[in-house]
Amino acid sequence: MAASMQHVYVGAATGVFKGVNLAKKTATNFQNVASLSREEEICAMCWGNQQESQVCIGLKNGLVKTFDAEQGEFTDCANCAGGEGKFTGLAKYQESLVTCVESGLLRVWKDEDKVDIEVGKDVCRMRQNHALPHQVATGGKENELKLWDIQEPEKPIFKAKNVRNDFLDLRVPVWVTDLQFLSEQKLVTCTGHRQVRVYDPATPQRRPALNVELGEYALTALSVTPDCHSVIVGDSQGSMVMVDLRMGKVQKAFKGFAGGIRSLQCHPSLPLVASCGLDRFLRIHDINTKEMLHKVYLKSKLNCLLFSSADFTQEQTETTKKQKRKLESSNITEEDEDELWGSMSVVQDSKKADKTKRKSKSKKLKKLK
């Protein structure tokens, strides 16, 4: 059962798949390193079921492996090759797998038959709406954000429109690098041209409701905070900032990164954010205090991560409580202490200066006895 205790799963560019237990501070590798090749690079990950006991990982060569956390090994391997390029997103919808590749082929793998959706070239990310699992959103380079219903694959529900031309009347290039559902309806995207945008498909307006420009480097990953008021974005140079979506301003910046961020995810309930990237470290920050709580060296360049919704701080406190109890039991009561002090003999020193004082003290003690 030790394997079921992982709190963060990470997939690396070398094909290594690791689980990290934050309470025990251990990292376990679930794959045989020697047998891996560059073709087995992990490109996308998703939970295999609601209980988060299974993890699906999409490899560069088109395979989707299923990892069972309880057994601690890979149980299933399906060939989901189709289209060209790496996987940009994986999702589970009613026991069937939804995959999307860079060339723009979004496929729903029901048993035997497949549903294909052509979402456009150079897709950078596909994500599922966790509130309405039949909805997925896609976006990429020169490929605006689109919202799809898997049950009606003919036409997107919503297709975003590019922002107005800039002050020189030039077209603003499109490059959606990551996106996420903000609530049931709203969507947040970050772009390679440093913008964070909020779209609301419920309104007739197709342009973003909010458009914020940040920093200097291309944004690579984002995650919505548990309170849904702000979003945390990471960039290719290794800076991670939190943007308030109500004010459209940078709220705080997180420190400690050495390289570009590839993936980041907030904990669904706790104020924690996990991030990984090219500097080979997994970092856990506290969202409120900005403090770095964990920093784990995982030896390979990390591509993607999954943060379990389990509340691991409870485990931590339990262990600390146990330790405290232990300490208490080993504590000596005051009476014992007095006895101990009484049984100890008086220590003497050869130094002259102290002598007079100590002597008088010892005399007093003698008198008392």
Partner: protein
């Protein structure tokens, strides 16, 4: 009031301690008890005069010199004494203390590579430089500079070209680096070196491995060319041996591998030339020498030049792309340089 000292002082000592030395304090104690009232401050307890309180400057200086001299004398004596003791003890002498340096007190780095680590070995066996180390590709280096280089930089380029075999020097001719890379790829270059200059002096080096990166950006300092080095003979066209020192962390390994991939395999030992990349406190010292074994113990070195120091600024994944490229490592001064004993290579 008097009582026999044995009644309360002996239990304090361990039973083995029966030597005179240990009993000494007890005796003293009894004496003290005897002439308790006669206790006086010993004459040696007069504190030395405070030199800084002397108001005459000349005298103050003299006194200070005197004090210094005395202290030095005491120190010398102590050293001599220690030496004598060590000689007397022979083999049993306590080992010499190792001086504390910034390097040996280095802050622990978890990315330090263990040579038996399977995962790191696997990662390195499949990285971008792997084709060089498996001898599938032969290095071919393009050396260029920033646009319109001045004479120091052009001479530096020439000497770098002499030092790296199978390299070609090109004028930049105002070309974008992003346009140079595909052309270099077409001509099967494996590396591009770009020297940047500022105020007529080289100050930056970009080392870009082809075809898919990585790209390292260094700061260059202390460039000494062949002419500026005394008694430097001319270098020959032999393939030099490459010495890489102290590239121990995971980042250091990558950088070291990039340097190694610049030079061809199988050095020509008849040339007796060696190129050294020595990393010390994150500064990489480049030296080019000709050696001569004078006898079994002594080696003569002759520096050929050029000589310079590099410091890593950033390491980028992929070929040069300053706008959208992803960084593997960036040196962030204010965030990372928290301790003088912390190093990254």
């Amino acid at each position: 009031m008097r009582y026999p000292p044995t009644s309360w002082s002996i239990p304090n000592f361990p039973k083995m301690a029966t030597s005179k030395k240990k009993k000494m304090p007890v005796r003293e104690e009894t004496q003290d008890v005897d002439n308790d009232s006669a206790m006086a401050v010993p004459s040696s307890a007069i504190p030395p005069p405070n030199i800084s309180s002397i108001k005459n400057k000349m005298r103050r200086t003299q006194e200070f010199i005197k004090l210094k001299r005395q202290r030095r004398k005491e120190k010398k004596e102590l050293q001599k004494k220690k030496k004598r003791e060590a000689e007397a003890l022979g083999d049993e002498a306590p080992p010499k203390k190792v001086p504390k340096t910034i390097e040996n007190m280095r802050v622990f780095d978890e990315t330090m590579v263990d040579p038996q680590d399977e995962e790191v070995l696997h990662d390195e066996a499949h990285d971008e430089m792997a084709s060089y180390f498996t001898r599938d590709s032969r290095p071919k280096v393009l050396i260029t500079s920033s646009d319109r280089p001045r004479s120091t930089t052009t001479r530096f380029l020439k000497e770098l070209g002499q030092c790296i075999p199978n390299s070609e020097i090109y004028y930049r001719r105002g070309l974008d680096l992003k346009k140079v890379i595909p052309q270099a790829l077409a001509k099967e270059f494996t590396d591009i070196i770009v020297i940047n200059e500022d105020r007529r002096k080289p100050n930056g080096m970009l080392l870009c491995h082809l075809p898919d990166g990585p790209t390292a950006h260094f700061k260059i300092s202390n460039v000494k060319l062949h002419d500026e080095i005394k008694r430097a003979p001319k270098s020959t066209e032999h393939h030099p041996e490459v010495i890489l020192n102290n590239f121990n962390t995971r980042l250091g390994h990558t950088v070291g591998r990039m340097f190694a991939a610049l030079f061809p395999h199988d050095p020509q030992f008849s040339g007796r030339q060696a190129v050294t990349f020595h990393n010390q406190r994150d500064f990489i010292f480049f030296r080019h020498h000709r050696y001569l074994f004078k006898n079994n113990k002594r080696v003569g070195l002759n520096e050929l030049g050029p000589r310079f120091t590099l410091k890593l600024r950033s390491l980028q994944k992929g070929t040069f792309d300053s706008k959208f490229g992803e960084y593997e490592w960036v040196h962030k001064r204010h965030e990372m340089d928290t301790s003088r004993r912390k190093f990254f290579l």
